[in-house]
């Protein structure tokens, strides 16, 4: 079989994951976060030794996936490359963005460094713009305390409209609660109401116009507001990937029928 659009990038990764005979999972969770937030410590803390690393087909980016069990459900975690953003253009950021957008994870956990929360929230807002099923994991909360940083967790939850779980992944602190939260969000047991970023009025008007047309094309496959924003950005790498995703998913629907 030659390389087709369907056999590279996100599609190959997702396909390979599903073809693995040991792969029977109840939910797939994406783990995102800035570099140096302890994301991999959270990943290791949750999955222990049940993990595999693999190459993202077509790019030299290494991805780890791991499995753990919680309340009788098998949960697959995918550890994405550390990124500050999903909008710029490095290979790492494209992989993280493609998985969250087109890999259909059942929930996305963003691991943030509690000692410099401000700079981490940018990524949180970007992820929330793609998927409502976002969880914020406030890692290194012990170091924040040491630096006399107090975080109003309830206030943050209210402002963002997503669950916020403080952790000290190094000592496994808070990981049990994180598992519970992932369980509730991924299996649809928790009502999510993420705060939407509202842009300048002119942009909002353009978005409304685009969204109305996009709804027909997308048929619920992707978040129309997010796609409209990317069209306004004019970032061709994202637009190409969206086109590929729509073609691939249409062919697959065709096969099933």
């Amino acid at each position: 079989m030659g390389l087709t659009t369907q056999s590279t990038g996100i599609y190959a990764f997702v396909e390979e994951m599903h073809q693995d005979p040991n792969f029977n999972t109840d939910a797939v969770i994406a783990l995102a976060g800035n570099p140096n937030t302890g994301k991999s410590t959270v990943f290791n803390g949750l999955t222990g030794l049940n993990q595999h690393t693999g190459n993202w087909p077509g790019k030299t980016v290494v991805l780890a996936k791991g499995i753990y069990e919680h309340r009788g459900k098998k949960i697959t975690l995918v550890d994405l490359p550390g990124t500050y953003s999903l909008l710029a253009n490095s290979a790492d950021e494209q992989v993280a963005r493609d998985f969250i957008c087109f890999g259909n994870p059942d929930a996305t956990v963003v691991v943030a460094d509690a000692t410099c929360l401000e700079r981490n929230l940018n990524l949180v807002l970007q992820v929330m713009e793609i998927t409502p099923k976002t969880i914020l994991c406030l890692n290194l909360i012990d170091e924040a305390k040491r630096k006399a940083i107090r975080i109003d967790r309830n206030g943050l939850e209210r402002l963002l409209g997503i669950p916020v779980v403080p952790t000290v992944a190094r000592d496994k602190g808070g990981l049990a609660e994180l598992e519970n939260t992932i369980h509730e969000v991924a299996l649809g047991k928790r009502q999510m109401n993420p705060r939407q970023t509202i842009y300048h009025q002119a942009i909002e008007e353009a978005l409304r116009e685009l969204q109305a047309e996009l709804e027909e094309v997308l048929q619920g496959k992707l978040n129309s507001r997010w796609v409209a924003l990317r069209l306004l950005d004019g970032d061709s790498s994202i637009i190409d990937e969206i086109r590929r995703y729509l073609i691939t998913s249409t062919t697959q629907v065709g096969k099933e029928v």
């Binding site: 401000e118 700079r119 940018n122």
Partner: protein, 82 residues
């Protein structure tokens, strides 16, 4: 009284400045904004590499090295001490 604006490149090591705006466009602009360099952000020049470029800046709790081609695109003004 108006406070003079200058390019971040000119900030001496140990000095603080506040971001006024970013002249870059496109991906570079996105990247700088993603690093937390939005207007009103306070930046400290921490140290210079031996060749003088890049320079390490403290930005919102993280140490980030910028080349002069990037820092030249960032307009700042001196922090007024009170």
């Amino acid at each position: 009284m108006s406070i003079a604006e200058f390019e971040l490149t000119q900030l001496p090591v140990g000095g603080f400045a506040r971001v006024v705006g970013i002249k870059a466009e496109g991906l570079v602009r996105n990247r700088l904004l993603d690093l937390g360099l939005v207007p009103a952000t306070v930046v400290e020049a921490v140290r210079k590499s031996p060749a003088g470029d890049p320079i390490a800046y403290k930005i919102r709790g993280a140490l980030i090295a910028l080349r002069s081609e990037e820092s030249r695109q960032i307009t700042v003004r001196a922090l007024v001490e009170d």
